[in-house]
Each structure stands twice: as C-alpha cells, then as structure tokens.
Symmetry: C2
Subunit: 835 residues, 2 copies
C-alpha cells in the first residue's frame, strides 16, 4: 500500500488502545509505518552494548582543561612550570600556542540582524575570562588522571573584575561583561502584528504582570566528549564527537584546521542524550582536541565531567517577562504586549535563536488581535545560553498560559473556556500569525484542530467533573488543583536534510542520513519508513546517522526536525530506489514495472509470486560489472554479459541499487498539544505532588506511537524538572553554587506520574509523509500546567518557575499578607503588578 496519500484527519485513542488506522504500509500482514514496534536500538543500548564516546579510543591520550575559577577576570600570567614535572605529561597549550584560525574566536553560528553586538569566546581564553568554567589551558597526558594532575599544577594569575550576574544586574549595566558592548545589550528584537497599543487602550480589561523563569540546562546523562585520530598516511582526521551536528562540526574543524572537508570525518557514536546542548558547534574542545591530535600525531580524547558540564557547556530558560494584555468580557485577547529580558550568558555563539522562538511561538494556538514582543538579550558573566529542549517555547508558553489563567481569574470564567474563545479554528488553516519565524520565513501554521485537542484533554483529565473531585479531596483535608496548558510548536525547520538508501547484494538495506541521534529511536523510525516504502522486512534495514562518511550534508538534530526532515528525505530516497528496482526487475522478468510489486524483499508480478526476483539479485543486476561474488549473483549476471550491444551497459542508470534525495520544505510544520494535570499540595510542607498528568498530542501522522509516547514521557519528565526542581543557583560573584547532581535536583522516576497520552493526527500538508515533529513537545507546557494547577489548588498566583516547596511556602505567606490587595478590582482601570 503506497504511503503517498495522506490519510484523513483521524482521532486515535489513549496509549495501547489505538485502533488500527488507515495509511500504514502492510508488510507480510504486519503494518510497518504507524505501528508501535519496539525500538530496534534498545537491545543494544539496554544491554550495555552501546558505544558511547568514552567507550572509544581506550588507548588515546587524555585531555583535561584548566578552567577559570572567576566569573570575570583578566589573565595576567600562566605559569606551567610545576606541571612539567608530571610524568606522562605530553603537552600543555594556552592561547599563545594556537596557530592561525585555531586562535581566532569561535564562529558566531546564526547571525541575525538584531544581534548587533554578538560576541564569541576564544577556544582558550586570550586575556579575559567571562564566566567560571571558561577554558584557559589544555593539558594532554597519558591518561586523564595525569592530565588533571598537571592541570591542577598550572598557576594562572588573575586580576578579578566585577561580575555581572542576573538579568536585572545586566540591565542595570553598572558593570560591563564586554567593554565594547554598551548596556550589556547583545540584541534588541521585536515581533509585532497589528497596533498593540491601540488595541490594549481600547480593550475592556487590561492586566499587567511580570513573570520569572529560572535558568536550567539540558543536562544529558552523557556529557560532551571528543576523540580525534589523525591519519598521517591519509592526511585525514577522524573525529568522534558526542554532537548533535556532525556535518557542522566537520565544517568547523576543516575550516579551522585548514583541511578540505573531505579529509575530515566526523562521527557521532551512540550519544547519551543531547537535548540541545550538543547542537552548539564547534565547542572549543571540538577544535582543540582534533588540532592536538594532528599536531601530536596521537589519538587524543576528552570526556567532559559533570562539573564541566555545569560550568562549561550551556544553560537555558532564564527570562524575565513583562506582560500587558487587553481582553474583552469573554476573555478574547485583543492586544498582547510582552517585554522579554533574556539572559544569554557571556557569549552568543548560537545567536539569539531562543528569544526569537519565545517571541514567535508564544502565541500558541491562539489568534491574538494585536501583538508585540520586544526582546532585550543581555550579557552576564555566566555560562552561555543555547537551546535546550523546547528552546524558548516553555518560557513563551508559560507567559501565554499564565496570561490565559490571569484573564480567566480576572473575569471569573472557566480557564478552558477562556482558551476556547481564543483558539484558531480548524477552517482557518493555513493560519498566518503575521510574524517572522526563526527560519526567516512567515510564521504560518499548516494544519491542526485545536478545539478538538481542547475537548480531548478536558475529557481525558475530567476537567468538567473536577469540582466534585476537589470537594471530595477537601473533605479529606487535601488541597488539589487542576491545570491546563496549550502550545503550538514549529517543528521540522529547514533548510533541508537528505537521505540515502541502498540495497546491497545480500539484500540488506542501508539507510543513511546526515543528522545525528541521541537516543530518540531514529534507528527504528527511519527503518520503518524505508521498509514501508521499499516493501522489505524492517529487520533488513540498517540505519546510520551522524556519520559524515555515510552522508556528508546535513543540518543537525534540533527543533524537533529529525523525523520530518530526514524521515521525508529517506522516504523520497527509498521511492527512487523502489522505482529503480522495479525498472531493473521488470527487465529481468520481462514485465511492465507497473505490474510489479515488492513483498518481503522480493519483486514479483502482482498475483504471480512465481515470477519473482529478490532485491539482492536486483542489486547485482544494477551494477553491470562482469562478475559478482556469489553463485546466485554470478548466474544472474551471466545474462548481462555482453548485453544489448546497441545500448551502453549502464543504460542511463547509475550503478548500484541506491538512491539519494533531499527534503527541503517551504516552511516549518506546526505540531500542537495540550496538557492537563491534577496536583496536590501539602498544606504543611508545601510539597507539590502530581496526581495525574494527561497529554493530548498532535504531531500529524504517527510513524511509531510507542516512540512518540516515549518522547512525550521524557519531555514531560524534563518539564516537571523545570517546573518544580531545576534551577542554576548563582551567587553574586558568578559562582554556580549547585554545580553537581548532589545539589542540582532532577526528578527521578519516583517524581514522575503515569502520563496518560492520546493522539490526534492532523497530517501536515507540507511533506510527503504528513508528519510533524515530536521531540520537544513533552517539555513545552509543563511549567505552565503545573503553575496553573498549583494556583488552582492554593488560590495563589504563581509567577515564577521552578516552584520549590520553599517558594510555595513563601507565596502562601505573601498571599496571606496581600489578601487586602486582592479585593481591589475593577473594569478598565485594573492595573496589577505581581512580583
């Protein structure tokens, strides 16, 4: 059954109860596309057979880094004398030792007109350090212990400078992070549609408030790591990196080291989570380690330790938002004005993509009369800020959904009902928000059914019957609350990905795409796509990702784009291979290609399984060499010897049963979802316990519901971390006080409730498979949902995240204190400021 047709919008029940839908390809009676088959990588990964960065290069030299202990300081001197005594020391490098382009500042990856004062770090600090953890010297030694020993003996003489820590302090600009960046302002950007001032002025109701979102971080269980081998015979460099963007790392290394890109192989091996931090490239270590490997002509490896990951990788989230919203009596938003102060840390290698995403994705499933977002992106003497799963969306959704709850509260209306009146209707797609998306293209939602999502999440969580539940709990002396959060997520951002599909002469199918995997299940879903397109058992398909040897052009894994971009590219490539296989088989079978089909890896005449040729033989026939290396293949090629003497042997085909194609969409596709939770708050300890968590999710056609649900579960777990636990605690001197897993709290499985999931499928009209991205979805609305539910339980206002028991306790106290203020309310004149 071909996949070309997009199935009609269909609704699918909760996990496990999914009804067999249309549109999947049948394979020997088993549907491949759309089926919740187990993850093919799990037997390997769950039995410890994964090959992560640190599993490689066991004989390699080890690198360690001397990192700044100061948030801001001038380097006066670096004295390596004592380190030279360490037995097994191979080399010590400081900025002075770096040649040519290796010594230059790292590239600014995503220039944007708003980023008027972009700044990047030197790979090793040149004269000033701007955050604790900034690398100052690299040590290479026989093993990591010796390298650390030597690093600890290097004495760096610093002249400390005042540290700028926190958004307010950055905005005050009493001190500057970069001497030549006035006001610490890296970028000012605005998104607007309509006349927001006039709209708010004319609105029956206006609210104004402030929101605070703390810093958190991707925090993959495997940190970063780089392992490089120089091949002097070949003049080539092989670099393994725990990266989300191997082709881009390759481009950076090639440029920095002056090598042709073809002489640099970058491979992302098994990667233990990325969540965004590994999309940054090149990390200084990704340049320095390969450079040293070539210079020393020795294998060199560096594996990030956890403290390094806290202070020398990247953070995200930290924003302060000032909201002003005008709305009518039903809660319809007439004008929304948001001022966002964004803390981008000490440098901007990844540009200002996060606040761009926040300011454009904030509107979610709603149509807003007029909108303006102004972003000021600020330097601080802290770790750089780059995208972390959700990438600015959790902050935007927190803002929008807090706004919806405030409107409902103000009007005394049901929170869901207020959202309902603002939703974009199904007949309004494609819906143009009138903004410019992160890819520089108009922000146009391709498809969706937001009212259906809302109805479904209400049904799933029992929204309309919650008051009975609350009453029952109250009767038991328990406080419970219900919360809701909605979002739309631009996924599958361009510009492109490519896929390569090859059927070899053993019948194995090799699928390659350039983007990388960090555990998402690409080996499974890409194999499902190829198997469905080709008509082969999914077991016969092998998938390679993130290996520049196999596919040299790619963008990378981020922005929930892998399935949309590479999935469609692989489908297109597989269709080319299928067509080619049918042409060649048709000749061998003396049939019309249109009369053929492929079942279980065998091309046969429809309705006549005896007129058949296996794909492995088609692969032999595809290459008009005069011989092959097994008997069956040799028999097959016998026919081809000599061939039709009037035609060239290739007959206009390229040799090999393989095909390559690219998918490059006009614009992104927009997934959506709504989450709801019921929480219980402890009256004494102020602990928040999540009793139920429900997700309705629409990422278009599902390739594998099990994997989508896994993504949602992981995302919700990470979102719960952000909602209740995770924060980066800096002191005023810029020291990160909780830079370890002892002090930085992340949820265990014990903190994560069972997540009830249902799917809606509104296929994307933008791509052949009708799919949308799902990788980040789970995390996006969680803070908003939890805040909403805690507010509902407590009758207080939650304006910052995360919300620790301590925070909640303080909010309760403040609420009691402010009780008198609460009584003030009014129609148009209401102005309220929450801290």
């Amino acid at each position: 059954m071909p996949l070309h047709g997009l199935p009609e919008h269909r609704r699918v029940g909760p996990s496990g109860g999914r009804a067999p839908g249309r549109g999947g390809a049948l394979m020997g009676g088993t549907r491949v596309f759309g089926e919740p088959i187990p993850r093919r990588e799990d037997p390997r990964l769950l039995t410890g057979q994964g090959r992560y960065l640190d599993d490689l290069g066991r004989d390699a030299l080890a690198a360690a880094f001397v990192r700044s202990p100061h948030a801001h300081a001038r380097i006066l001197d670096i004295d390596v004398t004592d380190a030279l005594d360490v037995d097994g020391l191979v080399a010590i490098y400081t900025w002075e030792d770096l040649p040519g382009r290796v010594a230059e500042p790292l590239p600014l990856l995503i220039p944007h007109p708003s980023l008027t004062h972009g700044r990047t770090a030197y790979p090793l600090a040149r004269d000033v350090v701007r955050h604790v953890g900034e690398p100052v010297a690299m040590v290479v030694a026989r093993d990591r212990y010796l390298a650390e020993d030597a690093a600890s003996r290097i004495r760096v003489d610093y002249d400390p400078l005042p540290a700028v820590v926190g958004i307010e302090e950055a905005a005050r600009a009493e001190h500057l992070v970069h001497d030549d960046v006035p006001g610490n302002v890296g970028a000012v950007l605005e998104q607007r549609t309509g006349d927001v001032d006039a709209a708010i002025e004319a609105a029956p109701h206006v609210l104004e408030f402030r929101l605070d979102i703390e810093r958190s971080a991707s925090m993959p269980l495997e940190g970063r790591g780089v392992y490089a081998r120089w091949d002097a015979d070949d003049g080539s460099l092989r670099v393994y990196s725990s990266t989300q963007a191997s082709t881009s790392v390759r481009a950076a290394i090639a440029a920095k080291l002056g090598l042709p890109p073809g002489k640099v192989e970058v491979i992302a091996p098994d990667v233990g989570g990325g969540f965004g931090v590994k999309i940054v490239h090149p990390w200084p270590e990704e340049i320095l380690v390969p450079w040293a490997a070539r210079l020393l002509d020795r294998e060199v490896k560096w594996t990030e330790d956890r403290r390094e990951h806290f202070v020398a990788a990247a953070h995200e989230r930290g924003q302060v938002q000032h909201v002003r919203v005008g709305f009518d009596d039903e809660g319809r938003v007439l004008g929304l004005d948001v001022r966002i102060l964004h803390d981008h840390g000490a440098y901007t290698p990844y540009g200002v993509i996060i606040p761009i995403v926040t300011s454009t994705q904030l509107l979610g499933p709603y149509k807003i009369g007029a909108y303006r977002a102004e972003v000021v992106s600020l330097y601080t003497n802290t770790v750089i800020v780059t995208p972390y799963r959700g990438a600015g969306r959790p902050q935007g959704v927190f803002c929008m959904e807090r706004t919806m709850d405030r409107i409902a509260d103000h009007l005394g209306r049901d929170r869901a009902a207020v959202r309902e009146v603002n939703l974009i209707r199904p007949d309004e797609f494609p819906y143009d928000q009138g903004l410019t998306f992160q890819d520089g293209r108009p922000l146009i939602y391709d498809s969706g059914d937001y009212p259906a999502l809302l109805a479904r999440i209400k049904e799933l969580i029992g929204w309309d019957s919650f008051e009975e539940e609350r009453a029952r709990a109250a009767a038991e002396g328990r406080r419970i609350g219900i919360g809701l959060g909605c979002y739309v997520e631009g996924t599958g951002v361009g510009p492109y990905e490519g896929g390569h599909v090859e059927i070899d002469t053993s019948g194995r199918v090799h699928v390659a795409t350039g983007l990388t995997s960090q555990g998402q299940g690409h080996e499974t879903v890409f194999a499902q796509i190829a198997a469905a397109e080709l008509g082969v058992p999914v077991e016969d398909v092998r998938v390679t990702t993130g290996d520049t040897r196999r596919f040299g052009y790619a963008v990378g894994t981020f922005a929930s784009r892998a399935a949309v971009m590479s999935g469609n590219a692989i489908a297109l490539a597989a269709r080319k291979v299928r067509e080619k296989a049918l042409r060649i088989a048709a000749e061998a079978l003396e049939a019309d290609p249109r009369d053929l089909e492929i079942t279980d890896g065998v091309v046969h005449v429809k309705g006549d399984p005896s007129a058949a040729v296996p794909l492995r033989t088609v692969a032999v026939l595809s290459n008009p060499l005069r011989y092959a290396f097994d008997e069956e293949a040799q028999r097959a090629t016998q026919f081809a010897v000599g061939g039709d003497a009037t035609e060239p042997p290739l007959r206009g085909e390229e040799p090999g049963l393989e095909g390559r194609d690219y998918y490059s969409p006009v614009r992104s596709t927009f997934a959506a979802g709504m989450h709801a939770a019921i929480v219980e708050t402890d009256p004494d300890t102020a602990e928040v316990r999540i009793l139920r968590y429900a997700v309705v999710h629409d990422c278009g056609r599902l390739i594998n519901p099990r994997i989508v649900e896994g993504q949602i579960h992981g995302g919700v777990a990470q979102g719960i971390g952000g909602a209740l636990y995770e924060r980066m605690v800096y002191d005023e001197s810029g020291q990160l006080l909780n830079a370890s897993f002892m002090d930085f709290l992340m949820p265990y499985a014990t903190e994560i409730p069972r997540i009830e999931t249902a799917h809606l499928e509104t296929p994307s009209p933008l791509n052949p498979l009708g799919i949308k991205g799902a990788g980040e979805a789970g995390v996006i609305p969680v803070s908003a949902v939890i805040a909403s539910a805690v507010e509902d339980a407590e009758g207080i206002r939650v304006h910052s995240m995360p919300l620790s028991p301590d925070d909640l306790y303080r909010l309760r106290r403040r609420a009691e204190r402010d009780e008198s203020l609460r009584t003030r309310s009014g129609a148009r004149a209401a102005r309220e400021r929450a801290t």
Copy 2:
C-alpha cells in the same frame, strides 16, 4: 573555449615540435587540455614522498606465507610444532582454520562460455598444490623477520605428483594438472569470419608456420601488498592494497567476510606499477590478511617479496601459434587461419581473457578476407597467467606482423607495401571486423587513418632511404636491418566508470574516480580535464583515485581504459558542476547563466569582470545552511537567510557544489600505432642493438602529449624487454630457475634507445572528449618490430621471442644448415614449415 566539439583530424609533429592545435581549453592564456604540462605527481614521487603500501602500517603485525616448493604435490601433513617456539609469533593459519566463505576457492572473475573447465585455487592450499609458490600456510608475527622464521619452521609433508610444464606437455596430457580436467584443456574458443578453408584453398599463395612466444611477467618494481585494519568500534575494515581494482577488492572482501560493502574501505595508495598483475582480485592475500586483522583485532600487513612475485603472482605471454595464410600476388591476405595454444598456468581466476584478446586483436589495421582463430587454453603446473600490459595483443601482433613479413619475403615485395594493400581505409570506418570483442560486443573499429600512420612511420624512420644506409653500414662491416610493426588496440573497454567533482568552500576542486593509479599520471590528466571544463587553474584541482571512501563504484584500471572511461566521466561530472555553479552565480549576480563564464576560478559576466563571484563563494551559496565558517562566506550567506519564502531553501538543487556522472560507452574505442626500428646485430656476439626506434601513435585527442609519450616510452622499454630479454625459465619439474632480478633480465635505460614519437589524432566519435586509450600501446608491436628488423639484418627467420644472443647465434647456425631448403619455392604449392 568549450571542449564539447571534437576537433577535426589533425596531424601533429614529433615530440616537442607539436604545433598548437585546436580544441584545447584556454585558461588564463594557458591551454589546459592538450598541453604537455609536467606530471603533478612527480614532485611527490620523485622526492620520495610517495606513500606506498609498505610505507603504511609501520606498527602492524606482519604476515608471511609458507609456499609450496613443489609444482604439483599432495599435502599429507602440516606440522607447526617447531614454529610455536618463535617469540613474537601471533598466529598460524592453514586451510583447516579458515571459516565459511574464506575457505572456499577464490572466485572465477570473468566467466565465459568457452571456459568449460575453469578452476580456481583455495586461498590456502586445501590438499593439492599445483604450482611452486602456491600458499599453504599463513603466519602472523610481530615483525616480518619473526614471521619468516616461524614460516621456515613449519614442516609440510608433501607427496609429489608429476608436473605438467610447457604447452606441448600440457597438450600431450600424459599427466593432468586437475584430475577432473581432461586433456588439461580449460577452454576451447573460436573466432571466425568468412570461410577460411575455402579462401586459403583458393589463394594463389599459401604459407604455414609456427610461432613461439615465451612467458614473461608484469614485474612492477613494487610487488603486491595488503595492509588491513579492523575498527571494532565501527565494525568496519580498512584495507590498503597495492591493487588495480579497489572497488572489486572491496566487493570480494565484503562477500568473503560477510560484511556489508559499506563497512569495507579499500584504498589503493601510491602504487609502484601494476601492468596488469594487480588487476587480479582477490589475491588470496587480499582475503587472508583482512580476515586475520579482524580475527586478531590487530593491524596486519603483508608485503610481497620479489621471489614471491615471481612464483606467486602471475605471468603472461606464453603461446604457441600455428599459422596458415593464403594471399594474392600483391600480398593481400585472402584467408588467415591461426591455431593458438595458450598456457594459462595452474588456475583460471581471470578467465580466458588473454587468448580472447589475442584472437580478436590479431587482425590489427588489416582487413582480412576470411579469418579463423582457434584457441586451446591449457593448464600447466606453473604460476597463473593473467593479463600483462598488452594482454594478449603482443602475441597477436607478433603473429600478424610475422605473417606480413613472411608474405613480403615470399613475394619479394616491400614489407611496408604488403601491409599497405591490406590496410583498412579511412573511409571504411566504423569498420566491423565481424568478431566478438572481449566485452561480448561486436569488434567495430570506431575511427583511424592507418595509411596516414604508415606513411608517417615510414617518413619518420626513413624507410624508403634505408637501403642506402644499409649499404653504408655494410661497407663498414656492420649488419643493420629495419623492421616495422603495426597494431590496433581496443581501449576504453566498458562497462563504465564514474567521476565526482566537488568545489569546496575554499575554492579547491576535488575530483574522484573509483579506478586506481599505478603511476600513469592520472593526477595530472584528470586535473587537466576538470580544470578545462570548469575554468579553474589546474593547480586548484586535487584528484583521488582508487579510494572507495571517495568513489564506491568502479571497474578498474586495465585495458588502457582509465583516460577514456574516467576521463570522460570526470568531464561529464565537471560539466554538471559548471552548470550548477552558473545557475547559482546567476542568481547571486542577477544575471542570465548564459551570459556568464568562468575564468581562473571566478564566475563573471562575459565582458564585465567586475560582476563576479568566486567559485568558493558559489560553493557556500550552494548549501543553504544558515552559517558558514569564514567571513566572506558568512557575508555571502547573509543574503540567503530567509531566502525567497515561497520556495524551499534547496530550490530543487542538492546541497553542495558538486556533481557526479558516469560514462558508459556502447563499445570500445580503437587506438592504433605503427613502430619501426633499425637494429644492428653483432656478427660475432650476436648481440642486437637498437639504433633507432620510432613510433607513430594515434590515441585520438591528446589530453597531455607528455604523458602519452611517457606511456609510449615505458611501453616500448617493456616491449624491448619482451623482445630481447625476458623469459620465465622453468625446468621440467616446474621450478622457475630465474626467479630473481639477478637471473630474470629486464632492460635498463642503457638498453633503451631514444624513442622518436609522433602523434596522429583521429578523435573517437564514441566519447565526449574524443579520446582513446594509450596505456598499453607502447609494448604491443615491439617484439614484432625487433623480429622484423633482426630478420632484415640477418637474412634469417625469427619465429620466437624473446631473441637472446644465444638464440640468434643458433638461428644463424640453423640458417646456414638449412640454406639448401631455402631455394625451394613455388606458387600455389609452396608449403613451408619453420620450427
């Protein structure tokens, strides 16, 4: 200036005096295509910077082989006990240790219907050895010395069997090489056109004689070698082999070791000559060394030593030919009947391609009334016989040209005049010889001007004034003679080659093709082709050959096919890249692609050099990533951010300024040449000295005359070796008596005269560049030319090659003895038998 048009037939003067012709591409005032630029590989190769097989893997374990000392024996027992004491021994393998497909006989590469009894060897002898040198056991040790020590301690108990040595003994079949091959006959094949018996019967004159051509061998200065690395992390194998066919070696290793081809990388590094012996694949060592490397998870290397190359690689040439020819009074051949006994050695891994070539290429530039060649290809207990430069053609030309000389002698006519009347005329092309070529396709000559070649060689050597010269020499008591030899060579055999051309973001051009190089100058000529097509300086072009990582599909380097096949594929690929560059540049320059040209690596509007964009920037623009790694590129991509929002970023193009194409001809193209020599024979020592040697050569359009001349010079030198020095001297027990460079004579520079060369260019109409192959040309007619000249000097008949002073001395004695026989002659009844 485009290369697309084929220049008209033009005549070019002797070396150095070549007049500027038409059709070359002008590059900054310098013609690139067609110019005799110096070989770009020479600075590297001539200063010892080449990286040959044995330069690699210095830390690898070493393999050595126990080889049979018997030409034919049954293996009773292999006792390795004593070898186990050798310190540093890692492993010993015999056939019993080989698993699965590794244990199977090697593949029979080119099956042919005539090869009814093809046999191949086991990689290690299983129970019977069939030639001295056949591998029996493999030893792996810490270094080669230790491996050889251990090998020498392995005791193999043999039961010797009678050895079949020499064509006559094989044909007698008193003993069999293979029990199951009756008569020792591997193949019987026939080529025929017309009714040869009737034609000879009706001919006014008939001659019958026998010719003997000795065995020789390719004898590259670098022997074979294999170096393998298993990458356990990657599950991949990298194999360096001194091979002429890296993709085929890869296919064989993958099949034998059960690896996907994509997990096997085969690289031919710098290779010190091949001349055919390295096209055989897989050699047993090419399977065994990688197999051991994977098994041991250690690098393993084997480098062939000279004795191994003599007894365990391959030989060629050895044939006995029985000729019967009928002709008219002018010497026009009416019927030619040749019976060829071909010695193919102990096994037939490469099929019967050599006698196929002999029997089809024998006719040379002549049209023969009726023709029949019958080949019997025989097993002997000697080293296998596989193609060596010329690959059966020297034997065929020896036969045909000896026949022409015999006819001239018989009729008392000028030897050149007899050839003249038999030549195919220029207006007869395409000329169908009515035979089936080695590729299974009709033997049709595409173009040529044989009368012009003959006129030119006569002019160059001074044919018509030679009698005066002879008289002057005779007056000085010196014997001199003049000889002539003509040939046509099918070159550029299919089925295909491919080329990949990429311009990277630094402006460097990377050209890759799958076939291999053995010193021919591919780095130079392929760069010339790409530079001319692209409009870039030849210095900016880098060429990679024989590296499966860079190009995975190829046939290999043999049959004078590299320039024709890969050269045209590269030209076609470069044209794609040029078109793409013009499209992209046109957009950047807001111009029409048709108004653009490329000069010195810069695309510019014709006549307006200011409206220009360098190719390196076009390369950046070709990949719609959002960033690049140098400032100029980043500026260039600024324009591309966002792009035209109505179009997908790729706009239907694949990313990257690169292109791939294949060239697959309907049939081969036919080069031709004529050689002439003047020799002096010493009346006392019977030494033959070559006074002058002239070549007129037509390989279609010349890419680089200097390289073509280098090929001709090397070929003539190798031909002189075959004509005067080289032979494999086997004793009756199958021992090769001269298996070293002390005993096997090859000419030094001192034996090679200055070679006078002139070119004719009759472009091939079959390929875009109009070129024909030139790699083997030089060697083909040399034996015939020298035989002709010695006959002319001595007044004797030369019916065997090589001709040592000893041989000549014996011929003189026999001639004196046979003087009386010489007087017998007559018209139709003449029958003569020479031994």
